[in-house]
């Protein structure tokens, strides 16, 4: 197993390197850079001399290869350079936002799990009944409804409901306080984006739970368990669910990596100062250094999640052995 994990980590390196090449050259494919946005962004006349100095300072005039080397070597020296927009170190900008995004991602995964597993089970056990159709409709709707719109609806709903019941419209707070400083405040802010993103991800997982359960419920051992007079609850919880959970865990874990992408939109809606918002701003400002490092962070999380899923798979299912 140790050997397998090591091999997988080594195989990750070429992909990460490829991603670094792709994002680096992609961003520089077309003329235009942060200096032009910063100095001439509002359509004002920009002094060519000033743009030149700005480029010089940010190292944008260096040969491509030198810039690329600075970018890649940064990962080994743990020096990712500075944001071309704010001038603050990239690591610092990421650090102050990481906690918020991670918390929303974890809470959204929690929401998705809590919704999808029970619904999936009910839907499979009551196959082709009204309940089943309701759950399936709920799941299909979750895939079709964009999470940013759901976010808008949640805010709007909160405004209207609080106005109606307390006479005072209430909106989730905007400034972030860590959960250990002020748990109630923190949760009252972050639960809504977690629901908006979590619902969407629960949709995929619900469908997965349902089909996995249906498959397992047809197995011989389930029939045997029923034949020996076991109560249905035990058959479902202990015999069927345990075996159906494997693909569901995979989907939920893989979705966790996608959450980092989903947050890009949700954070915008709820005006949360997280990594997603930082990413959108960096793209808008053509802040190459910030953008490429954030992309690499997402790719790394994505690759690591895949690895963890594969390892967890072997651990959960003794039939799977990697070599």
């Amino acid at each position: 197993m140790g050997k397998y994990i090591l091999k997988r980590i080594l195989l990750m390196l070429p992909t990460l390197f490829g991603a670094a090449i792709l994002i680096f050259f992609l961003l520089r494919l077309v003329p235009g850079d942060v200096c032009e946005v910063r100095l001439a962004g509002a359509g004002l006349y920009a002094d060519p001399e000033a743009i030149k100095i700005c480029r010089e300072n940010l190292g944008l005039n260096d040969p491509m290869m030198v810039q690329f080397w600075t970018f890649v070597s940064g990962f080994f020296t743990w020096d990712l350079g500075v944001s071309m927009w704010t001038g603050a170190p990239v690591l610092h900008e990421i650090e102050i936002r990481f906690e918020l995004s991670l918390q929303v991602a974890i809470m959204a995964t929690f929401v998705a799990t809590v919704i999808s597993i029970p619904l999936g089970i009910i839907s499979a056990v009551k196959q082709n009944t009204g309940l089943d159709y309701a759950v399936r409709g709920f799941a299909i709707a979750g895939i079709a409804i964009p999470s940013f719109w759901l976010g808008l609806l949640i805010i709007l709903g909160l405004l209207i409901l609080t106005q109606h019941f307390t006479g005072e419209p209430w909106m989730p707070p905007i400034d972030y306080r860590p959960i250990w400083v002020d748990p109630m405040y923190n949760l009252s802010q972050l639960i809504w984006p977690a629901i908006a993103t979590g619902y969407r991800y629960s949709a995929v997982a619900t469908r997965m739970t349902r089909s996995a359960m249906l498959e397992v419920l047809r197995e011989d051992y389930v029939r045997t368990a029923r034949a020996k007079g076991m109560i249905e609850k035990v058959v479902i919880n202990r015999h069927a669910l345990k075996n159906a959970l494997l693909p569901v865990v995979t989907i939920i874990a893989l979705e966790f990596a996608f959450l980092m992408g989903g947050l890009v939109v949700t954070e915008q809606v709820f005006n949360l100062n997280g990594l997603g918002k930082l990413f959108v701003e960096s793209v808008g400002n053509q802040d190459f250094n910030m953008t490429q490092n954030l992309v690499m962070l997402v790719v790394l999380i994505f690759a690591l999640t895949n690895l963890i899923v594969d390892v967890a798979y072997a651990w959960l299912d003794p039939r799977i052995r990697y070599s």
Binding site: G18, L22, L27, W149, L156, R207, V298, F302, A303
Partner: protein
């Protein structure tokens, strides 16, 4: 029973052969077999008709600003769904927005999956080094979550509808290529491909005439799945202000400023979202039906 009467077993009775069905009969069968898919198709058709006839059915000009009628609530003097912060009619903008959504949806799904089809089949056909290199490149593309890659492309090319389409196509190509390749690998081992090669046909001819037609099922499944995804991605990018730009009517864009006017005009946040969800819903149902029909192994229970 007299011995000279021969009873024909049921399996040999030829009148079992079904008579040729009329188109109407076939449609009824389809509705019965795929009720949800037909419903989805219905939504898609309504959208198509709306988009084509936009000039004739929309009551106003989509970019016409009317500062006398800003924030007219739904139902007032001919503005069925109200007006936005520039006094533009919401219903008109929704109708024209369906053009944007459908254009992006169909172009991205078709182009993206077609390029993926060619790459996937070529990768499987040539195998060896070509396959290895292509697969490693696809790995790199697949290492990005959808919207992150699309955003990175938009960061390079800038905003606007063409660039958004390029970004979405780029995101779809590796995903389709991956699926097509795995199917094409099996086709490659079938003797008629060897036979074609023995006859001295060119690579191009073998790929296009002998392999591509045999991977149409996964190709069509991917293409229909992409339709809804493309619309959703375009809406997300436009919502972020990095997609289609004002004054072009696009549903995602219409939601961008909605949160600023919650107090004054909550309806701004409602209708475009309904339009996005409904169309993606329609395309997804349709896509599921296509998948069920073309790939019995994947049939959802």
């Amino acid at each position: 029973m007299s011995p000279d009467v021969i009873t024909i077993p049921a399996v040999m009775q030829f009148d079992e052969v079904a008579p040729k069905k009329s188109l109407a009969q076939k449609s009824v069968d389809l509705v019965r077999k795929q009720p949800l898919g037909t419903f989805g198709l219905g939504i898609v058709v309504v959208m198509l008709v709306t988009a084509v006839l936009a000039e004739y059915i929309s009551p106003y000009n989509p970019v016409q600003e009317n500062f006398a009628a800003m924030f007219a609530p739904p139902g007032t003097d001919g503005h069925l769904f109200g007006t936005d912060e520039f006094g533009r009619d919401i219903l008109t903008r929704l109708i024209y927005g369906s053009r944007t959504a459908l254009l992006v949806g169909f172009v991205c799904a078709l182009v993206g999956s077609s390029i993926g089809l060619v790459i996937g089949v070529a990768s499987a056909y040539f195998s060896g080094v070509v396959d290895l290199i292509l697969q490693r490149i696809l790995d790199v593309f697949m290492a990005f979550p959808l919207i992150i890659l699309a955003l990175a492309v938009v960061a390079t090319l800038g905003t606007g509808i063409q660039n958004v389409m390029i970004a979405i196509i780029l995101v779809f190509v590796p995903r389709c290529a991956r699926v097509v390749r795995s199917n094409a690998l099996a086709i490659r081992e079938i003797p008629y491909v060897d036979a074609a090669r023995a006859l001295g046909f060119s690579h191009m001819r073998i790929i296009l005439r002998h392999m591509v037609p045999n991977v149409m099922a996964p190709y069509l499944i991917m293409a229909t799945t992409f339709l809804g995804q493309a619309i959703l991605l375009e809406a997300s990018l436009s919502f972020l202000g990095l997609g289609v730009q004002d004054p072009i009517p696009a549903w995602g864009l219409m939601l961008t400023n909605a949160s600023e006017y919650f107090e004054a005009a909550p309806w701004l946040a409602i209708y475009p979202g309904v339009a996005i969800s409904l169309s993606v819903f329609g395309f997804n149902l349709f896509g599921d039906a296509v998948r069920d029909t073309l790939d019995p192994k994947l049939r959802s229970r």
